[in-house]
Symmetry: C2
Subunit: 287 residues, 2 copies
């Protein structure tokens, strides 16, 4: 199943037979005090810097979030989307929990966006799916609902199934529903990752849809987070994860590209070898 | 299922509920010309150096191989085993394709060794299993036979099943048969790793035995091999691999310990955090 996203001039395809889709997580003021203050003051220069840096580091798409307390999120999000689109041509994941902000974002976005996110809660489904359908967008759907985050893979699958069905009622095909199987921090529950991996396998088998998760959650509160992300993503990819909102730190992106090669999504290692030669050439030029 | 190996003074347990067992691959003259020449001349100093370095780098066990053309492998292997045992106290994987060498190795080894290896070939089974049984050792069993290396996971499972059954006939329990699901280089066949992962899952489900593979094979002929190993091992561990004969390069061992934590085999990250503090203390002392 292929989820096709686009900017004005570039198309990205997410699929089980495609290289993994790396979605840069950085353009998000959550936990970034200085960045939040800049945005509050109308200074979007860091948005440009972060957009360019993440694409340079290998991002296929960028997540953009404008969630700052007591700020007009709709206006800020629209401004940030315009800024990112001016700096790069990768498709964008429009990230907000506020329906009006998603609406404003979709209104200014040129191309087919990925909306982040809906959940299995009836109210959210009824609010967000019509918006997604109207704009011909795709949507990330979290496998939780009114009852919270299910502890078992089977329960998460059932919520995912419900969301795919509800999306169909609004004319959104399963190829435009990207399920988030939910990655919780392993620092809080020893079985957090095994449940996520089980959920991914189950959704892969039963629904066949694409999946995306916030990979950095897994290592929250632990030291050497990039190393944990580098080990987590290949596991999740082997189970059937097809994209992630993630750090674009070199070691994490390398790990994803290595896993692409290992899983047969980089035939004969063409990309892997080309990147290696590029680095060698850069190193030679620098010395 | 637990495979328990020991040296004179240390015990290692391989199991699906245990931290991954890292077996250092380096004490092997294959492809190491200088080392082979030293060994041929009776100089075992590098054996000591490599044993200490790998244990320092995190090896739980060491593979020892003495395969050099036109050398008395039995005598050399026995000498190398004594040298390793004098340098470290980790259990050893006695690695030879020559039955007499395995015999000589087992004769000098103090503890319960892991014999590397038998295959599903009738002749090999009849030669090696009685030896393993007589010494109360455990054995690595490659999932190939007279017909070569099977292309499908199902065929490899059937060979593994046959070996476990044959071992039983000699009084060797399934806990002492460690199946090698066979890791081929992804540079030669795009689906090499996916077949290996499928084989691991299938053997985990159907036989429940421990497994060990030569992890470096996967990246043979490709650049940035440690990065490929670092991405491969977490995938294989999530599928059910419980040990590997592998490089003890820092990034590869880190990746295994990260995967241990993610898979719930390092409760609350106690080992991960302790190693982090140790490194910080070392860095502080060095600065």
């Amino acid at each position: 199943m292929h989820t096709t996203l686009s900017s004005r001039s570039r198309t990205v395809v997410i699929g089980h037979d495609q290289p993994f889709c790396v979605i840069g997580e950085r353009i998000n003021p959550t936990g970034r005090k200085t960045f939040a203050e800049e945005l509050r003051g109308g200074d979007l220069s860091t948005v440009t810097v972060d957009a360019l840096a993440q694409v340079q580091a290998g991002a296929d798409m960028l997540d953009v979030n404008a969630g700052i307390p007591l700020v007009d999120e709709s206006e800020l999000l629209a401004g940030m989307l315009r800024t990112v689109a001016a700096a790069t041509d990768v498709p964008i994941c429009i990230d907000s929990s506020v329906i009006e902000a998603l609406e404003a974002g979709l209104a200014v976005y040129e191309g087919k966006a990925l909306v982040n996110s809906v959940t299995g809660e009836d109210e959210r489904l009824e609010e967000i799916l019509p918006l997604v359908a109207r704009h011909g967008a795709a949507v990330i759907a979290l496998a939780n609902d009114e009852t919270g985050i299910p502890e078992t893979a089977q329960q998460r699958l059932e919520i995912a199934r419900k969301i795919v069905s509800a999306a169909g009622d609004y004319g959104i095909g399963p190829e435009d529903v990207v399920i988030d199987p939910l990655a919780m921090t392993v620092g809080a529950a020893t079985d957090a990752v095994t449940i996520t991996l089980e959920t991914i396998s189950l959704i892969r088998e039963e629904l066949g849809v694409n999946m995306c998760l916030g990979a950095s959650n897994v290592s929250f509160g632990l030291p050497r987070r990039h190393q944990l992300g580098s080990a987590f993503l290949p596991m999740a990819m082997a189970a059937g994860l097809t994209s992630a909102i993630m750090s674009c730190a070199e070691e994490v992106v390398n790990s994803v590209r290595a896993a692409d090669l290992l899983l047969g999504h980089d035939e004969w290692g063409a990309r892997w070898i080309a990147e290696h030669r590029e680095r060698q050439a850069k190193a030679a030029a620098a010395s």
